[in-house]
């Protein structure tokens, strides 16, 4: 199975390249396109890591919705990012520190892919072994999603609803209002 590992590493490398490009490129149209590529790469990676459900979700979101939403927003704003006068030093320090902390912490996480990790040994076995008896669907992810942790999914559905409500509140009505015509309330 060394080939899966190789594909895995290759996809991660491509992700890193695309991510760096996202940082550098100023044309927002190109950013949107690279964002699409980024999402495709992630979906491929998830598939390689045996998570087809996540892959299909990332793919559907990435190619079906996220790109279209970003383009939809671009029609209402400028497409070029202007160079920022922000100081780069503080963000860089914060990010490097966070990264260093995470690296430090991650070194004691059990190695990738071992069968005796706590993740595989504690709660998971019941899902994989008892699910057939307790719920009886082929796809264990569906069983966990809709039954064992069905309440999380209710919350997730509510999050989408909340986003829908929010976007409608922000963008519906008052379409005729022009830039700068808003009066200061205070």
């Amino acid at each position: 199975m060394i080939l899966t590992e190789f594909v895995d590493i290759a996809l991660l490398a491509l992700l890193a390249i695309t991510g760096l490009a996202l940082l550098k490129i100023r044309d927002l149209v190109a950013v949107v396109m690279l964002g699409g590529i980024y999402s495709l790469l992630c979906a491929g990676l998830f598939l390689v890591m045996d998570a087809p459900d996540v892959a299909i979700t990332e793919a559907a979101v990435g190619v079906g919705i996220a790109t279209v939403l970003l383009v939809g927003a671009l029609t209402l704003i400028e497409r070029e990012e202007r160079p920022s006068q922000h100081s780069r030093a503080l963000p860089l320090v914060v990010v490097l520190f966070t990264g260093a902390m995470l690296t430090y912490g991650i070194l004691d996480v059990p190695p990738f892919g071992e069968a005796d990790n706590p993740v595989q040994e504690h709660v998971t076995p019941r899902y994989l072994e008892e699910q057939e008896e307790e719920i009886g669907v082929e796809n264990v992810v569906t069983a966990v999603l809709a039954s064992y942790r069905g309440y999380d999914t209710l919350g997730e559905t509510t999050v989408i609803f909340a986003a829908g409500i929010g976007v409608l509140l922000l963008l519906s009505g008052r379409k005729e209002r022009r830039a700068g015509s808003e009066e200061d309330a205070s």
Binding site: M101, G105, V109, V119, V123, F161
Partner: protein, 492 residues
């Protein structure tokens, strides 16, 4: 049906929000929201009664036992926070109608009430849950709706405030997810009680302290703890009055609760304070927050912004209480959770009433308001007393316990500092009082009248609560002491 109360507490506002979004008329949606909030308040009272009588309640969602399914677990701490959140919701909702009709387009009202109810549901969901990932999900429900409510303010700066809030809030949430992921990698579980059992086995690894750090930073972002508070002042200043009052009184309080839950239940007091030396981080941060934010509040021209900075200072008091890690200190922190919610909500409602009448909340514009709106400003003054910590108000009770806790640890200077910062509160409240009572009303505003009864009643209900719990504090302190004992694992 009583055994299902924990889930009904969250599900009823959630389902009511879904219906509210489809109601065509704002008034009807408002009535619906008020009814929902009052039912929620009733449920949380029943839950508190159950917890006081029978101890911790556990509710298995979907009928799946704890580490496999999601569990709702309610002890004294969250029962108390539930009461705070739903109580504030029940007071703000009646206030909202007139205030929002003035500040928001009529066609948006039903959806705004839907967002409000969802936010309430999300905050309640965070409070009752015993599962760390479920906590994240409901955190996002409440966060997304808060961003929306903030963005609905009239001023265009409300939009940038909401955007900044969204970015900071999402970073905070992602940090929380990273922390949860690290814990999950080490223990294989997401249930808080189960985590608490399994963390000691792996506490000596490098991962658990890092997870602790990520969770602390993430929650502190949501909490607006001192260096991570940049999103808060503008968000509170420019959002609609009712939303400000609700968020100021609940959102940060729930974040404080989450902090308590992680520090004391999940990681355990001994890990948090003995291994991680948390007190040496929280104590200075709390003190700096109290001092610098009170100082900034003094120089504010906009009363809402002044109160927002004062909130940041009050968060400092809560964090200070937590940093003592003693029963008295925690009692002070938890009491202040309740007391500050009551105080700040009352103050923001009073300011909202002033805005309703005169259309501005600048100190200079409030000149002469004291004589034109005696009841509203009377409420503001009483609320201000409470904020300062005058005896016979709730503000006094929490400061009293805070000073007791400081003395208990032998930190006399800290006790002195707490007294000094109260004087700073006197200064900024005085600036408003001075303008409202001792300056003539500007021309063209002679006709400003007292705020309508629908706005006065909720405000005064909170002021009366301020005085009542300031005189007879046995109920709140009793619960707070029980809660502190439960968190520290000291038998009661």
């Amino acid at each position: 049906m009583t055994e299902h109360l924990p889930v009904l507490q969250v599900a009823i506002p959630m389902m009511a929000a879904l219906v509210s979004a489809l109601i065509p008329r704002g008034r009807v949606a408002w009535g619906w929201a008020v009814a929902t909030c009052w039912i929620g308040l009733g449920i949380s009272m029943l839950i508190l009664g159950q917890v006081l009588a029978g101890g911790t309640i556990s509710y298995e969602l979907g009928g799946w036992a704890a580490p496999w399914g999601i569990e709702y677990r309610i002890d004294h701490v969250n029962a108390f926070v539930l009461l705070i959140v739903s109580g504030i919701g029940a007071v703000v909702a009646p206030f909202a109608r007139l205030s929002l009709e003035r500040e928001i387009e009529p066609s948006h009202l039903p959806r705004f009430y839907a967002a409000f109810l969802l936010c309430l549901s999300g905050l309640l969901g965070i409070t009752v849950t015993g599962d760390v990932f479920n906590l994240f999900v409901f955190l996002e429900v409440s966060s997304l709706t808060s961003y929306t409510m903030v963005a609905m303010g009239q001023d265009r700066r409300a939009l940038t405030a909401a955007y900044r809030y969204l970015i900071m809030g999402s970073i905070g949430a992602t940090f929380i997810v990273i922390g949860v992921g690290l814990l999950y990698a080490m223990t294989g579980t997401l249930n808080m009680a189960d985590l608490a059992e399994r963390i000691p086995e792996v506490a000596s690894t490098r991962t658990v302290p890092v997870a602790f750090g990520f969770l602390t930073v993430g929650i502190s972002l949501k909490l607006a703890l001192f260096p991570l508070h940049l999103w808060l002042p503008n968000a509170y200043t420019y959002s609609p009055s009712a939303a400000t009052a609700f968020l100021a009184a609940t959102a940060t309080k729930v974040a404080v609760y989450v902090l308590l839950r992680f520090f004391f239940t999940v990681f355990g007091a001994s890990f948090s304070f003995d291994v991680m030396q948390l007190d040496y981080v929280l104590l200075p941060l709390g003190l700096v927050a109290i001092f610098s934010m009170s100082m900034v509040a003094i120089f504010q021209e906009n009363v809402k912004r002044m109160l927002a900075y004062s909130s940041l200072a009050q968060i400092g008091y809560m964090v200070l209480g937590i940093s003592f890690a003693s029963v008295t200190g925690l009692t002070a922190g938890i009491l202040h959770l309740f007391n500050h919610a009551v105080i700040k909500c009352a103050l923001f409602l009073a300011v909202g009433s002033v805005f309703y009448r005169i259309g501005s909340v600048r100190i200079s514009a409030m000149a002469g308001v004291g004589r034109q709106m005696p009841w509203t400003m009377g409420a503001f003054v009483l609320g201000g007393f409470s904020l300062i910590g005058v005896p016979l108000t709730v503000g006094f009770i929490s400061k009293w316990y805070l000073i007791l806790a400081a003395i208990e640890r032998g930190w006399w200077p800290v006790a002195g500092l707490i007294l000094i910062t109260s004087l700073m509160a006197v200064v900024y409240i005085w600036r408003v009082v001075e303008s409202a009572y001792f300056q003539p009303a500007p021309g063209g505003r002679e006709s400003a009248r007292e705020a309508p009864l629908a706005l006065l009643l909720p405000t005064w209900a909170l002021i009366i609560a301020n005085l009542y719990f300031g005189i007879d504090a046995s109920l709140t302190t009793g619960v707070a002491i029980e809660a502190a004992r439960a968190l520290l694992g000291v038998g009661s």
